[in-house]
Every structure is written in C-alpha cells, then in structure tokens.
Symmetry: D3
Subunit: 242 residues, 6 copies
C-alpha cells in the first residue's frame, strides 16, 4: 500500500499539530516523536513539510572490539547499505535509543540521501556536521548536534524493521511528516483518512485564525458550537474554494 | 495594588539578569523560571521586554475518560475561559508540571490572547503551532515545541491560583518580566523597588560595559571599589542624563 | 609546549566532527563536551573555529554564607582574577558541574575576556546576558541561558587546574576547538598530529562531498576501498593544490 | 459516594498490577503513580494493602520570604490543618511536583495521621525521618528519603483539590491502593466494578500460578484460550470456594 | 560455542566488579548494565551468581491499536513465545528501552521461566508483581517495580536478536553474570579466558582483603608492587590450595 | 578547630532531618547531600550516626590514555594515597560528579579505611563490591552500586580540597553526619552550636512524638504555641533528666 501522491500532497500542507489531533481522535495519543527538532533552526516557516514512508535503521550500543574505524570498509555495513537502499521519497528514520552523545550520521551520508531523492532523515540522537546539514536541501531532524563518530556509541544493525524513535513506534511504511515543530508518525493504514481529515481541519483553523485576528472571541467559534460560526465557515469555504 | 505604569516602563528596559541580582540581594534566589525560552529564537535582541502581572492557569495530568476532544464544546472549560478572561496587560502563566510531551496551548489561543491585549504567555511545557506563534506580535515562552493536543496529557483546572512554573512560585499579581534570556517573577509587593534598583544597576552596567570596551580592567571598576570608578560613573551619569 | 601558530591555523579550518574521528582512532572516545552549544544560534557557519589552549576555572556549589553579593569587592576573587589573568589566545573553560540553574558568567566579564584577546569561553552551565554575549566578537559556548547571578549556586575556587566540563576531562594547556556544532578537547601532546591528520581528512571529506553532490554512491568512495576512488582523490588534490 | 466497606475489603487483597490491568481494559493507562515506593523496603509482602479515598494536599515551590520557620505557628497552615482534618480511613496524597530535594513531611505528622486512623500517606517527593516512618504502623510511599524541612522548597497551599502525583491525576475521593510495588489511583465512580473484577482476576491468577508451579506451559492457560484451562479453572474455583 | 560447564562454575563465584576489571583490561569499558538491580533487595550476599547465555527479547513502544489486552490470545505473541522457547540455563534479557513506566513482565511469566530451568531474567525496565518475584528461586534484575501491564507501553517484537539493555550491547549467546551488585555481559568469544582470569583475580583479592583486615596498608600490596606481597600471596595460595 | 569530642557525641544521636532544620534557621538551605543513600539498606535504625570531619577526594573525568590499569602501581596515585592519609575519625568524601556509571571505590579500599579508623565514606557516585561493603563495620553512602573500575570514568586528582558532593559544597574540616536517611554537611565554624541546638530540638521532638502517640493533636503542640505545651515539655524534661 504505497503512499498515494494525493495523500502526500495533502500532508505537505497541514501541520504536525493538526495531525496529532486527528490521531488523538482515533485513540492514538503517542505518535509525535519527542524532543526531536529541525537541524536547521533558521528554517523558513513556509517550507513545505517533509513527507514520506518510513524506512528504518536500528542501532544498538557499540561494543569497542566490534566497532573499529575499519568497519566501514565493509560495503555491507548496515549504515552504509541503508543509505544506498532507502527508496527515493521515503523518510530515513534511525533508532538511536535517544542517545545523542555520539552521532547518528554526518553530512556526507545525508548529502547522499538527498541526492538519492530521499524525502528526509530523522534520528532521536544527534547528527554530526550539523551546521553543514542545516544548509542542505533535505529536511533533517535530531535531538542535538553531536560530533563524535557514530562508532563511539552506536552499532548499526537492522534495516527496515519496526523501531522506537523518540518514544514512538515506527513501523516500516508508516507515513512520517515533519514541519517546523517536529515529526509525527501516521500508521500506514489510516494515512489517507488522516490526511483528508487534516485538510478539513486546516481549512477550519485558517478560518478561525482569520476571525480571531479580526477580534472574535473563541467561545462558540473554536470549536464552532454556535450555529453562526458554522454558517460563516460554510460561506468562507465557498468564497475561498476550499 | 495594580502594576504602576512607571514601574512597567522601567521593567521594559532592564534585563532579567539584572532583576535576578536585585532579587538575590533581598534573599530571593529562585525567581528565574528554569529552562523556559522564547518561542521565537530569532527574536531581535532590541525587542522591549514582556512585562505584566501574572494571571495563572493550572494543569493537572489528564485522565483519558475526562478529556475527550469534545470537552472544548463547554464554554466554561477552564483553558478557554482563562483565555477569554485574562486581563489585558497581564502575562498568562501556565503550570504544565514541566511536561512538554503534550502542548500547553496552540496558535489560535495565543492569537486570541494577543488580540485581547495580553502582554505575553509563559508555560513550563511546550506550545504547538510554535512556528506560527514565533511570528506573532506577542512574546511567548516555553520549554520546547510540542504538537500533541493538550488533552493528551494536561487537564486545565484552576484559573488564577498560585502555581509553580519551572520550579518558581508564581502568585497571581506577581510581576512577570521576560527578555531574550528567559522569564523572571517579581513578588508584587517589591516590584516598584526592584524596578527602581534595576534601573540604577543598568545605568552602572552600561557605564562599566563602555569602560570595558575601552580596555579597562574590571578590578576596581566592577564592583566600583576604586574611588576613581565611582567618580567617573557620577560624571558619566551627569553627561548622559541618566 | 605552547600551541604552534601553524597548528592553530590548521585547527581553525577543520570541524569538531573530523577532530573527534581523529581522536577516536587513537582510543580517545570522550573528548567532545556534551550538550554545550554556541550562545549565538544564528552564528554564520563560515565563521572560523575557536582555537586555543585551555585556561580553566573550577566552581563548587555555593554556600549561602560564603557568597553574599559583596564577595566581588575582593580583587582576588577567583572568578574576577581568572578573567584578568587568562592569557590572550587561550580558551577560558569553566567547570560548572553541568548546572545551568545559575549563571557561570555574564556579558561584562565576557567582554573583558574579548578585549584581553582571549580566544573564547566555554561553560557546561549557562551564561547570563546571553543575548548580549551572542552579539560579541568572541565565541561563547554554554548549555542554556541562565539569568541568576553565579553566586546563587556557584562558588569560584580554583584557577587553571584540571577540571571536568560536560563529562570531558580538561587539563590546562589542552587545545580546545569550537565550531558551530560544539567544542572538542585535544590533549596538548597530540595537538600537532591531530591537526595535521584532520587537515588531511578534511581534504578527503571535501573531495567525497563533491563527488556525492555529483551523484556518486558512497560505496567504495567513503571509505575509499576502490582503487579508482583513491586515484581520483590523488588527482583532485593535485588539481586543487591541497 | 463513600467507599463501600465491601469494596475496601476486596481492594485489600488484590495487587496494584491486577488493578492496573483492569483499568487498562477500560482505557485508563496512566493510573499507577510513577517512581513512588514504600518507605519501608523491608515490608512484609503479606501485609494487607493500603486502601482509602484520596484526601489531597497541594504544594507549590516555596518562596524564601513566605516560608520562615515561624509559619508553622499558624494553626491554619495548610500542611498542619490538612493533617488534622484528613478523614480517618482516607489516604493522604501530596503533590510535591516530583521534587524530593526537600521533605514533604516528617515522622511526627505521619504519626499523627496514623493515630487519627488515616489509611496511608503518599508523596511524589520524599519524607524526612524516613527510618522512623518505616517503623510506623501506617503505610507510607515516597520517591526517596529527604532530610531538609519542607519549607526549603515546598509551600503547602490547597487542601483536597485535584492534583498531580507522580504524573497521575488524583481527584479527591478517588480510591487509592498501595501494595509492595507501589500505588494505583482508581476513579471513584468505577471503584466497585474494578474491585469486583480484580477479585475475579486474582482468583484466576492464583490458579494459573499454581498450575505453572506444577509445570504447565502458559500457552492456552494464560490467557485461557484452551477449553481445558477454563474447565480446570471452574473446577478449581468450586474446590476452593472462590 | 555453548557455555562450558567449567566456565559457568567459575563465573558463579566471582564478582561482577572483578569481571568488569578483566573486561576493562581488554578495552571493554561498557559491559555493566547501568541502573539495573536485583528485584530482591534482601538477597543473601552468599547466593551464587546468576550465570547463563543471553537469550533476548526486544520491545518497541506500543501503539494503542496494536496492543489491546486480547493480543495475548495469540500463542505466537513474541513475549509468550519467548518465555516458552528460552533455553534452560540461559538468561532472558529484555530490551525495554530503559522505560520502567510499564512492566516488562510479571510473576507468572517469571515463574514459568523458573520452572523451565532458565537461569535468570533481566530488563532495563521494571517488573510487575515484583514482591512475588522477589520471593522466587530465580534471580531477576530490573530498574524499579512497575505495575502497569506491558501492553501499556511495550510491544514485544523480536526474539533472540542483538539488543541494547541498560546502555550495553547484548548479543545472543553472550555470557550474562549477575550478583548482588548488578549484571555484566561478557562477549561469548572471551568468556572462558575472562572467567579464568577472574578466578585468579578473586584469589588475589581475597588474599588482599585478609591482609587489609589484619591491618596491612594497601601500598605495595594492592597492586602487589612489593616483592614481599607477591611472595606472601604465593605462600597463601599454596596454603589454601587456590 | 578540630571537632570536639562532646560535639561528636551530640551529633551521634540526632537526626540529619533535625540538623537540616537547625541549618535552615541560619539560612543554610542546601547542606543535605542529594540522592545519596546508605549502601546497607538493611541498616539497623538504631545504629549510631556516622560523624567526622570531611576529608575529601576530587575526581575528574578519566581520559583513556591517562588511566590504564597500571596507574595504581604508583604509590602516589591520589586515590590510594588519600586512603592511606585520611585521618582516623574523619569522613572520606568523594566528588564523583554525580556519575555512578563507574565505581568511586571498592571493598578493599573501604576495608582499609575501616581498619585505619576512618568514620565513614561518602560518594555521589557508586561503590563496587557494594554487597561486601554493606556488611562492613563502617558506614558507607553512595547513589547506587556500580561494578566498573573507577578508571573507566574517574581520575582521582586532588586530596582534601573543597569539592561538590551531591550538589552540596564540602569544605575540608566541615562536619559530616550520616544516619539512615542520608548525609548532611555542617560548616565547621558552627558545628558546636548546631549540635547543641539539635540536641535540644531532639528532646522536644521526642516529647512531641510521645504526646502524639498518646493521641494529642499537633496544633498548639508542634510548634508549642500553647503555654500548656511548653509547661508540659518543661516537666517532661525534668522527669527524664534531658
């Protein structure tokens, strides 16, 4: 069940906050990756969202004897192999066990992902070369910068298995969306309906924001418990064609 | 004992660091809200301070059965009611138990506060829609962005009661001041004297900074244990009319 | 064994990430100061690195009776004395026991260090007046902003002794390097060889980045297990004169 | 809706683990007070549970000028008043904001609660005089021992209001149950049904434990997906009269 | 390469501290599972060690829709299957992502492991029914008690794959040793030599302890830089037959 | 100003909680070492307190090349030297930077301290061989057990300098008192008066406890705002000869 282009487009233009509410309504309370932020803090708020299906990489703690610098000479090393096999359009999500004391990856690997058409990269640890990554044309999310090579504390192990990232379950194929606030994970089976609902909610939130900016009280408007609010919204939609 | 316009003006132009020192001299060592930051990280350092009397909202942990999405249909829901009743010129301070895993509020409520003339908003949790909030013309302070709806973890309970925020006691009516560094809470009863003293200290710090930039040692100057330093400062004040 | 001008120059232009890898190869896995960041978040990524020999200041917890505001009237107070005696070109490193709840120093002291030609300042606590410090022409690194005066929680004790900073051992004379990512500590005895190796590694990384940006796979290139990659790099170096 | 004697009796003999499962089945996932332990680590595992309705006390951070040692001379001080008004049979629950750096209460107050017939005491901070409290004939639960007087960091404020304790919502009248593992909070409205269900579950768990101790596999037994398991359990109950 | 009976016997009688030193000498600095403790705090210090090869279970965060209480009706559920397939003599090690807010397992499963001859159980989360587990004749190690069912936060996923536990890499077949202090993980390939060396070291430590108890200084004795110390130890060994 | 035998005796019989209150009355709010516990959890509550003057040892983070296992062959290694020079009757206090991931010391060194007549040992890290230490006739306090050798993370550096331990300033010669609850640090200059006051307070607390056990309310009794309470206490003291 690949991600539909239409769904991807919808998810480009709604916020992670709105998506979290749509998920909350379905009993999914824990889909926002905790304490993970855009590497690029100066990110333009109008940048479209990162959207793609999750392609995962699992790290375990590194044992010193298994992780000399020479391990990367192996073309089958899972970190390197994952970078070369992540499908274009996917989001590369790393389980770093929330440990940012050593890097999850650096700018060369992230550049390669960018060139391969990958939609973004997320770790619950930290990236090295973060100032360079912040300038790349690929969204990247982490906890905080971390210069030590990943061999210091992380050993790449599994490719595209279910993982935890920032206390959230990430199953391969889940739809991952990132904006200026952070990253949310949508179960694949409900991505279409969540996207559709979020577009509706966004229209309403835009309407409400406009009204509030005009001086309206939120009572009766947000949520629209007054008939008047609902009528006005209907008119507003018609007028805007949304 | 409402906040005097004159005191408000003074507090607009002094730093939270200077205020903390003035409070420290009176034995108040714990008035700086810990680990709370401006939502707008690109904030212009010349922006005037957020200043206002504390108007508080208390959250407790949310219990699932008491917090379906429908609770906001109640016009008396404390979060919504607080937003509509916070006095213009006040600072809206939320006790989120230092838990940023779900939002304390989002951009629509913060916009409404802005339109109502509220001076600023502070939480020891996180805001959702934080990229939008960062662009609003109202100062907002939190721990970190948080997309999940506040019902996920927070239940609004009490309006304008004494609370804790970032390990600081906040009593309704305390004077809350925020700059680019963070937020300090001044007990209402001493706001005038603290403001006056901080203005004096700021003049001296500006003088010292000027001298240090001219190459002067801090010894004897900061603090001014040399007579010469005190004389120079007196002359400097006269010259600047401060 | 003072820091050679040539070594300083080399260290100006390599990243902390590259330095960490060079240290890792020598069995030094723990030289990156954890969770310490540039005060100036809008720092231009092209700014040259902070480089200098460590000059240290050790804080212990403050006891209330020993730390009234008047202690700074003593010209021999270790914090003030350290600021006046730190050698030009050195990096001033403070052991704040990873406690950012009160300030390690403020803008006047940092300005004085700048005027004295000190190369930078690092604490594993927080600075006060951080918005002002962010604008100064001296690199400063901390955990987070902290307005309370340092007397609130810190007592300056020892000057230029071995300390811990962000879980890293810092020995006086170690070479401290900071970039947009953070701060790394290089043992004095190997600073020259680490600098030389990092320059070599940087040339190779620049080559790899260029190739990856041209669409090349990392396999066989990074690390250069293919002969072709090694040959191309040799040609690239000759061409660039690196 | 006071706690029925029959419900209290049932809750005396079931575990907090079983109660958590019964609550989980009703969508209540967050009723176990996190990181709170019996003060008496040598507690006999056969001790009956602590059971009673929640009577709460809310602390906020202490401000130095409001909390000299003399505040306790006021008979209406909320901490002292709460101790004298907590109903016999209730559980006294304190919101200490998960801060154990100063005490929530000490042995004299806990002794007084014991003499007044209170069923137990819980804080998400720490008790002082904890070695004495461990010897008292009243169950007490905290995070860890803490000798500093509560005025150091806590100010008692509200009596019998909804609070948070260890990340759990505690509403006055909720039924609080503690065993050797910790403390669970049952919403008042469902206490009877939860108690009844837990008694049933406990009978089944006792049956399963007996069978497992006899060498039986858990497959088909726990849960009892095999008809045989269900039949055996029915026979076991009849035999034991449970 | 199954664990030799002789090696198992040796590991029964040496401490985790001694094993950590033997591992440290080989460059393995990170083999002690952090912050994991015997469930039975009253454990007799003379109890023989837990020793066995690691058999692992990996948890990821639970998603609500995938983890209703009914999942255990599936005989192939990885948690239940793992309990029934863990080899006798092995140590069952669970990766709970250091999250003790919900249980890793409870007394029925631990009893079943005990009956199946499993050597012990370790989690970096918490057990429920911990007072019962403390009484069982099988060693169990966790971070702290945790009553909520594991479905609340954990989803069992993989059986006998490499995992992290308490920041340590655990590979299936590694030799896991637990004493009253905690748990250490020995890479399978060096278990024999580490065991042999630890037995030697233990003899020496017993000798030193005896001497120190007789009033001897540690200088020259520990380590035995004096010839006399080495001679005495040789005599002591001969005398004791060790 | 050595510790008077009389003061030592007084401090043997009062609680750390009472001492904290006496210190609080003098404005010293931060003298209780945070999160440090008796190694011997089964400690008899009637054991007399640990009392002695602080003799300190300072650790910094270990750098791998400076801390091979061979460093202990140096008789002047600060850890070993400190153990041999700590005065009998003193309390050995280690600044482990609150890092228990590797040991601060083990049973052989603690045994040596015991034999040398040292009054106790405290670290804000962890001890290895903790089950053995728990059985020794010397009080020992730490955060939690930790088997890895201290060279893994700690380098002993300074002997008998001012340090931080569990967020408390410890100056050589300060009087350190430990009971079943934890450890408090009394500035040397006020040890006599604090001891005297604590003895008085303890008499009163014993009186209050007796009355409360007889059923008396705490109001008017604790503190003794009623004349009657004060009279009764005077009579009680006379009767008991206290």
């Amino acid at each position: 069940m690949p991600l539909k282009a239409e769904t991807r487009d919808k998810l480009m233009g709604v916020s992670t906050a709105t998506l979290c509410t749509a998920l909350f309504k379905r009993g999914l309370r824990n889909q926002f990756i905790q304490d993970v932020h855009p590497v690029n803090a100066q990110r333009d708020p109008k940048t479209p969202n990162m959207v793609g299906e999750a392609f995962t990489l699992r790290y375990i703690p590194a044992r010193e004897d298994l992780n000399p610098i020479t391990v990367f000479q192996d073309r089958a090393h899972p970190q390197r192999k994952a970078v070369e096999t992540c499908p274009p359009g996917a989001v590369f999500v790393i389980d770093s066990r929330k440990d940012p004391r050593a890097a999850s990856a650096g700018s060369i690997l992230v550049t390669r992902l960018m060139k391969r058409g990958v939609a973004g990269i997320v770790t619950d640890g930290g990236f090295r070369d973060s100032p360079e990554i912040a300038q790349l044309a690929i969204p990247a999310y982490h906890h905080r910068p971390s210069a030590p090579t990943n061999l210091t504390l992380h050993q790449a192990l599994d490719i595209d298995v279910p993982i935890g990232c920032g206390d959230v379950a990430v199953w391969p194929g889940d739809v991952v969306v990132g904006d200026g606030e952070g990253v949310v994970v949508i179960p694949a089976a409900i991505a279409d309906e969540i996207a559709a609902e979020a577009v509706e909610m966004t229209a309403f939130e835009d309407f409400v924001t406009e009204k509030v900016n005009q001086g309206r009280s939120i009572l009766g408007l947000y949520p629209p418990t007054d008939d008047k609010s609902r009528d006005e919204f209907a008119a507003w939609r018609k007028e805007r064609g949304r």
